[in-house]
């Protein structure tokens, strides 16, 4: 029950509890002897009932009773009446146990097991549930069991929905009731039940309903949770969409053997350098999907066979679903101009994690130019050092602006699914925005501000394809800043939100993005990176985002931010040069996303906090050699076990072994002592430069 303060036990209560323990121990000893000897006599079974009435948490006793029931039911002389009486006995024991503790997992589970046998009347169960839900209307065990009973009885979702309504009217601070409502509605939507054909009709009514709760008592959280669910239902389209890709539609990609350039019609934004003999095609979906393969995505070109393409999900975990999928095309060996056509989802198989089919087949094409190798560049590159320092950048001059903008236009995301952003969704959002502005005009309310911020962002994102700008981003940023002050305990969360919105804003238009694009030194002198560097430094970002609009970036400056994580960065497959200097990265495992960046050559992680904290709090969130996700990978490597230094630095080994770095800056981290650096050199034999020193 809720709101009952804990009291220190009185001496007589303590004495009673000691006596109870003694009795329980005696019972238990006897019980175990019955159990081990498989004795299922009447007395033995009754003893287990006694035990369970005192301690409903005794799982062994429940299991013993299950065995006993199975034993009785397997008797040759058992008839239906006998079965019924055996099972009724079980139900009675469960009821008594629940009276002792109505939140006993074991007891509720045993009841389910008995009912599943199908010999007992299920009508009684609803009556029992009414009793328990009266005692505590939020008891989620009872609600869980209710769902089970409703399903067994084939009670309609509509009836159950009405029941949640009644419970909510009694007391609307009921997470369980609101939750059940969301479960039932989801089921009805999925079934396309009568009256639930479209969310368009149902969701506005639900919004209306939840407003009553939120406005009556904005301090009560249960309503807000339901509102968040409704918002999610409003914003998320059922079927996944392709948000962006690299190369984009209409790109001209110039490839030099061993490298690739955009060549003569120099478009610095689409410049790509590759020394691996291949270049990536990246698909970025608006939600995690599975099933991307050469059968669901067709790549037509003269120099690769579609069936040879291997599509890989890019995600931190080892799961087979991801927002970002990548395949590598081999660079053709001869001088060639060829068009590549990519069609996504023309045959079924791409399915979102929610189980919805990708239903908007789309196609994009780009051109690939191949030129013979230029020997000079490869020689220069050997000794080249990239330094992302202020003096090395210059902003684009006015004379080159036009060509920059022209090439930038190529980046604008072509979305063929604009029509799917149906009107009712944005109407619903607009209504909600108005509603919460009103609430905030009445009172100061943290969660109200957060909700308004979410609504405004969702609204902007939804109307972006039409408006082509984020109208509310200033207001959202203000709300986030406000919340950081109002609610310091959740500072980091608001900071993250702030970062995301800021990034959305920066990437929303070419004008704002161009302000962050710089020319690195003399653009042609670099053979490793493209000539354009996106500088998102000094923005006090705590999180990175807006990847779908940054797939083209090869040189990224994220220095002087407050990044603790670079989750999602794996989507930026073209990155070859990255500065994370002066951030708040705390562990090597935080660098995990970089493992998937095959083109990364220059990395600056200097002046972070790697090694400051002896306990890596992110370890359990990211995969590690101790977790299943990478266990099989590292076992293959014999070197781990053979080298003591590497065993001590398994994290470094695991993170860096797949890197193809030329250049690494790690100075200014606690971990980066000489010993560690020597380990790094061992792990990465190709490394040419470490902390500014050339390696032999």
């Amino acid at each position: 029950m809720h709101g009952r303060p804990r009291k220190a036990p009185k001496p007589e209560e303590e004495a009673a509890s000691v006596a109870k323990a003694q009795k329980l121990r005696a019972l238990q000893t006897q019980f175990f002897s019955f159990h081990h000897n498989k004795i299922y006599t009447k007395e033995a079974v009754e003893l287990s009932a006694k035990l369970l009435e005192i301690n409903p948490e005794s799982y062994t006793a429940w299991n013993y009773r299950k065995l006993a029931v199975e034993h009785y039911l397997s008797q040759p002389d058992c008839n239906p009446d006998w079965i019924k009486s055996v099972l009724d006995d079980e139900l009675r024991v469960v009821e008594n146990a629940l009276r002792q503790n109505f939140k006993s997992y074991g007891a509720w589970h045993h009841r389910k097991w008995v009912i599943s046998k199908g010999h007992s009347s299920i009508d009684n169960e609803l009556r029992l549930l009414d009793k328990f839900q009266k005692a505590d209307s939020r008891n989620f065990h009872a609600w869980n069991y209710r769902r089970f009973v409703a399903e067994s009885m084939k009670r309609s979702e509509q009836d159950e929905l009405k029941y949640t309504e009644d419970m909510i009217y009694k007391n609307f601070s009921n997470y369980s009731a609101w939750h059940n409502r969301s479960v039932l509605l989801s089921a009805l939507f999925e079934k396309k039940a009568e009256g639930f054909l479209s969310k368009e009709k149902v969701l506005p009514e639900e919004y209306e309903f939840i407003h009553q709760a939120i406005f009556t008592d904005p301090d009560d959280q249960s309503g807000w949770f339901y509102h968040l669910w409704l918002l999610d239902q409003t914003v998320t389209t059922d079927s996944p969409l392709l948000a962006s890709s690299w190369p984009g539609h209409g790109y001209d990609v110039f490839l030099v053997e061993d490298r690739c350039y955009n060549g003569s019609a120099f478009s610095p934004f689409t410049a790509l350098h590759s020394d691996s003999g291949s270049f990536p095609i990246v698909l970025y979906f608006n939600q995690p999907v599975g099933g991307v393969s050469s059968s669901t995505v067709t790549v037509e070109c003269g120099f690769n066979k579609n069936e040879d393409l291997l599509w890989k999900p890019l995600s931190a975990s080892n799961s087979q679903t991801a927002r970002v999928w990548v395949a590598h095309l081999k660079i053709p060996s001869s001088d060639l101009l060829s068009t590549v056509e990519v069609s996504v989802g023309h045959s079924k198989g791409i399915i979102s994690t929610r189980g919805f089919e990708y239903s908007h087949p789309s196609m994009f094409s780009f051109k690939v130019h191949v030129q013979p190798m230029e020997r000079d560049f490869s020689q220069v590159s050997v000794a080249e050092s990239i330094s992302l320092r202020e003096e090395n950048f210059k902003i684009y001059g006015s004379q080159s602006e036009e060509s920059i903008i022209n090439s930038f236009n190529q980046l604008s995301i072509k979305n063929g699914h604009e029509s799917t952003a149906s009107n009712w969704r944005s109407e619903a959002l607009a209504k909600e925005i108005e509603c919460f502005r009103e609430l905030l005009s009445l009172m100061d309310c943290k969660i109200g501000k957060l909700t308004l911020a979410r609504l405004l962002m969702a609204y902007d994102v939804m109307s972006y394809p039409f408006a082509n700008k984020l109208v509310h981003s200033e207001e959202v940023l203000e709300l986030c800043s406000d919340l950081m002050k109002l609610d310091p305990t959740h500072y980091q969360y608001y900071k993250d939100e702030h970062s995301m919105v800021l990034l959305q804003k920066v990437t929303s238009s070419k004008e704002s993005l161009l302000q962050h694009c710089f020319q690195y030194k003399d653009s042609v002198s670099s053979a490793i990176c493209g000539p354009v560097c996106l500088r998102l430094n000094n923005l006090s970002l705590s999180r990175m985002g807006a990847f779908e609009k940054l797939l083209w970036v090869q040189m990224l400056d994220l220095s002087h931010n407050e990044l603790q994580s670079i989750e999602g960065l794996e989507a930026m497959q073209l990155l070859s040069c990255l500065s994370l200097r002066n951030n708040k990265l705390r562990s090597l495992t935080a660098l995990e996303p970089l493992r998937k960046l095959k083109l990364l050559r220059v990395l600056d992680i200097s002046y972070n906090q790697i090694g400051d904290h002896s306990i890596d709090t992110t370890r359990y969130l990211c995969s590690s050699p101790l977790s299943h996700s990478v266990g099989s990978e590292s076992n293959k490597d014999e070197t781990v076990t053979s080298d003591v230094a590497l065993i001590d630095n398994w994290e470094a080994f695991y993170i860096f072994k797949d890197f193809n770095l030329n250049q690494l800056e790690i100075v200014g981290n606690t971990i980066a002592d000489e010993k560690f650096k020597s380990v790094l050199v061992k792990i990465m034999p190709k490394l040419k430069q470490l902390d500014g020193k050339l390696l032999g």
């Binding site: 609307f172 009556t216 009445l442």
Partner: protein, 566 residues
């Protein structure tokens, strides 16, 4: 009451206390005094318990009201001076009810079943689940003699006949369909403020300055819209007078008092598991309360004699001190103290001069106190004012029915499940404070016209006459009558009036003086103020005794047996 059988003499003839009248205050005092081991004689000239707080059969109500409406009969020939040492001061009755107006639209039906009705003389009245009457009932164990049911809802009415439910709790605010989101927010925040204040939370304390200011000003300061203000003032805090018109307001509520009222209301909701609203109503009517306390007194040894009028007060010839009373039977009974029902007043025989001390006190005692009047109405209908709900309260805030309405009008509908009327019927109690009878009538009529169809006299008589066969049940009657073509029944869905009683009641206060006199039923909805006054009277006559000491709680009488006290 002329042919009363001869009385057996009362024995003993001397008591600590004589209580005349079995109204609620008298009954509580009798019970309290008996509990304090006083010997008590409790008399009532009526053949029933409860006096002005009683619940009466339909036929008895008009006669009770009119018996208290005449001017005091001139004292019978002064019995001159008795041969003994006492002066006799004759009792006279006060006219307490006026403008009694009984209308019967279905005489056969109601007359036949008169005894099935228990009509409250002092309605509308309810008990708040957490008010002083409930505390007293529980503390004294008197609750064992009674059963209650919940009054399910409170509504605020308007002049179009709409009844708006009063959002009086968190759940009710959430559920309410008439309030906008902003109103819901403001109202709930106000409730939270009050709750926080009452719980002593430091950061939500209401300032002393605010507490002393008028409640209506405080509500304005909180930015509550007029609709909600009206809900809080008149349907929750139960203010009687227009709080926004200081010219006519006689009970301007201070914030402090308003908050106390809200606290009472709030504590009442959900106090008892099976009571859904804030109020309770006793099965068999409000008269049960007086009777229950009389039972309580009897258990403690109080002697009861009903149908026993008293004729005169016995006063010491020399000192002018009270000595006893002369009963209608002619017997003289003596006691230390006397409590009088407000019905009685003592008149001085013309030309005779009472002893000096008495002379000084009497004028004060017999002064008619003018605290205005209360207009009451009782209506009987055969359909509920609101479908699907039978027991509920309706408040018409000042100015809600017509511009000159300066007081709240309250209406209580009670159904047959509380055993106050024939099955399928409903009793409506209406009351409003007023300055004079005409004003009172206007207020009661305003409500009746808004909510009820009042049949024309001739038509209803015709309808009744056409009913030939004896009517078995009210339900049958209902169908036959409506089919016989009440014109109003078809068009609007207003319930048709079957019977009504309208009357004005004097609001005499209790007096603590030469002789203690109990108050008449007041204009409030519950008994809180009456219980306060009763407590004061008890303290006055027994300053050294505790008013129902706590021990009576620990040893409640389970059955009616008088157990010896320790």
């Amino acid at each position: 009451m002329d042919d009363i059988p001869p009385y057996p003499p009362i024995d003993p003839t001397t008591f600590d206390l004589i209580v005349i009248g079995t109204g609620l205050p008298e009954s509580i005092i009798a019970a309290a005094a008996s509990t304090a081991s006083k010997s008590v004689l409790h008399l009532d000239p009526n053949p029933f318990y409860g006096s002005h707080f009683s619940s009466l059969p339909l036929a008895d109500l008009p006669s009770f009201l009119s018996s208290h409406s005449t001017s005091p009969s001139p004292p019978r020939s002064p019995s001159s001076d008795d041969p003994n040492e006492f002066s006799l001061l004759e009792f006279a009755t006060r006219p307490l009810y006026s403008s009694i107006d009984i209308s019967t639209f279905s005489p056969n039906l109601l007359d036949q079943h008169s005894r099935k009705f228990n009509l409250d003389v002092a309605g509308p009245r309810v008990l708040f689940c957490a008010d002083k009457s409930i505390e007293l009932l529980l503390r004294t164990g008197t609750n064992q003699y009674m059963e209650f049911k919940s009054v399910d809802a409170t509504f605020v009415g308007d002049n179009k006949g709409n009844l708006w439910s009063v959002p009086d709790s968190r759940a009710a605010i959430f559920k309410d369909k008439s309030l906008g989101l902003v109103e819901k927010n403001k109202l709930m925040r106000f409730f939270k403020l009050v709750q926080g204040h009452l719980a002593g939370e430091q950061d939500v304390k209401i300032s002393e300055e605010d507490l002393q200011s008028p409640f209506v000003d405080f509500l304005n300061k909180m930015g509550l819209p007029p609709k909600i203000k009206s809900f809080i003032l008149y349907a929750i805090a139960m203010a009687d007078y227009d709080q926004e018109d200081t010219g006519v307001c006689r009970d301007l509520l201070k914030t402090k008092d308003g908050i106390d009222q809200l606290a009472l209301y709030n504590a009442s909701i959900g106090r008892f598991q099976n009571a859904s609203g804030a109020f309770l109503y006793p099965i068999y009517g409000q008269g049960e309360l007086s009777q229950a306390f009389c039972r309580r007194a009897a258990v403690k040894g109080c002697l009861y004699v009903l149908r026993m009028p008293v004729t005169a007060l016995l006063v010491d010839k020399d000192t002018g001190c009270y000595k006893g009373v002369r009963l209608a039977s002619g017997q003289d009974i003596f006691s230390q103290k006397l409590i009088l029902d407000p019905t009685f007043k003592v008149t001085l025989p013309l030309g005779s001069s009472p002893p000096l001390p008495l002379k000084e006190k009497l004028p004060f005692f017999s002064l008619k106190d003018d605290k205005g009047k209360i207009a009451r109405g009782i209506c009987i209908t055969k359909t509920s004012l609101k479908p699907d709900i039978s027991n509920f309260l309706v408040v018409y805030p000042p100015r809600s029915l017509f511009p000159e309405q300066v007081t709240s009008i309250r209406l209580l509908q009670i159904a047959s499940n509380l055993a106050v009327c024939l099955p399928g019927m409903f009793v409506l109690y209406i009351s409003a404070l007023c300055n004079d009878d005409d004003q009172g009538k206007k207020l009661i009529h305003a409500v009746m016209n808004t909510l009820l169809t009042v049949p024309l006299d001739s038509e209803s008589n015709a309808a009744v006459q056409s009913e030939t066969a004896e009517i078995g049940s009210a339900v049958q009657d209902e169908t036959s009558e409506s089919s016989s073509g009440g014109p109003s029944d078809s068009g609007e869905e207003k319930p048709t009036l079957l019977w009504s009683a309208l009357y004005s009641q004097e609001l005499t206060l209790g007096q603590v003086d030469f002789i203690c006199s109990t108050p008449m039923p007041d204009g409030k909805l519950n008994y809180n103020d009456l219980i306060d006054t009763t407590f004061k009277i008890f303290q006055e006559i027994y300053p050294e005794e505790e008013f129902f000491p706590e021990t009576s709680l620990e040893n409640p009488e389970v059955d009616g047996d008088a157990s010896p006290e320790t």
